[in-house]
Symmetry: C2
Subunit: 204 residues, 2 copies
DNA sequence: GTTTACAAACCAAGCGCTTGCTTGGTATTG
DNA sequence: CAATACCAAGCAAGCGCTTGGTTTGTAAAC
């Protein structure tokens, strides 16, 4: 299944919004604004202007501003979990799977869904308690993909540190790339993935 | 020089505020509130209430709310740069220096200055352009300490990846610990430092 | 050792503005 | 001809910050 096929099957199941639709376009703009200015600094007037409607009209699509934030996060996790699962399944060895996970997450963070990923990582404080629970449940599924691979590597002796610590370190390290890495610079995404593998002393 | 001696010499030079004074106490509470709720969600009324004064009285000490944020950041960098320099100077080998840097940064993030460090890392978007320049200048000094050590290790062959990439990965990984690591749990700060070294394949 | 002078620290009140959101009505679409 | 999508206007609340006046700490003057 191609990335595009995965996206469209999720759209068909109503798990993510069609980026071409009104709702999808709003979520895309919202992600960009939330990342650039932060959720609190982004006003409903900003959001409305970004898609060319009046601020009041937003509330036909979402009951509250926070619901927009939650939707950005939920849809992003759903899509990226599916994409990541597919990327991992294509590999046979643990080493290959780990590389696929790192590569995929770097792509999420620095590619098309980058705005939304940054929001997911850095704006969870702005979620209400209820929304937080909902988002965390989805995140646990995503995280389990990582832990399964890292645990296997630990058993094989390829990994010296504790898997859950390593995953958390990688979460921080990879998400932080959004603040400094530019895909159009001298370092490609594959090159960046190589650097992470090398930093972990796993290069062949 | 002990950590306490370093702190007091900086206070004497008027580079950081005495934590016992009115200004110091406010900055401490501000750091806590900014970390817990974010800068935007924290109101001047929150800040004033935290130190037991009226909101308007804040503006005798700081001209704007943003000046409070800047002060938290600037004073934190100044203190931590001095502490880190001292921790590094106490080591002779590159490996020892790197461990000291990692250990020190983990301490900054998860210790007493933890609130302020989290603000420094995650709230820079709320700074005005002018303040940002000022803070970045101080940060460059701090970062150079890391790069010097990592460059030396690269030359010695202990490090396979690019120093500037490694530093940025470590920045993300270490600062992210604030979201999950609890010093009173089963893992000590030294243990956590060991995990980082092990993850980099540098354990002996 | 009391008085006087003065600045720093603070309070009570509130101004002007922006915020998220509501309302009542009008196009547009199937 | 209903449902959906939207607009124009604005409300109530909360925001950063200002203002005019009072308390408090301190140190010289008597």
């Amino acid at each position: 299944m191609t990335q595009d096929a995965i996206l469209h099957s999720l759209i068909a199941e109503n798990l993510v919004s069609d980026p071409a639709g009104a709702r999808g376009r709003l979520l895309r703009e919202a992600a960009r604004l939330f990342r650039d200015k932060g959720y609190e600094r982004t006003t409903v007037r900003d959001l409305a202007a970004a898609v060319g409607i009046q601020s009041g009209s937003l509330f036909h699509h979402f009951r509250t501003k926070e619901e927009i934030l939650k939707a950005v996060m939920v849809e992003t996790i759903r899509l990226n979990t599916a994409l990541m699962q597919a990327a991992m399944d294509a590999e046979s060895t643990c080493h290959g799977k780990l590389r696929a996970l790192i590569r995929a997450e770097l792509e999420f963070i620095n590619g098309q869904t980058g705005e939304a990923m940054a929001v997911l990582v850095y704006e969870w404080r702005s979620l209400s308690e209820a929304s937080r629970v909902e988002v965390l449940e989805l995140r646990d599924i995503y995280e389990q993909l990582w832990l399964d691979v890292l645990n296997a590597m630990k058993h094989q002796g390829d990994l010296k540190a504790e898997p859950f610590v390593v995953r958390r370190m990688l979460t921080g390290a990879l998400s932080w790339t959004v603040t400094w890495y530019r895909p159009d610079g001298g370092l490609s995404l594959d090159g960046l993935t190589d650097q992470v593998i090398a930093m972990m002393g796993l290069a062949e």
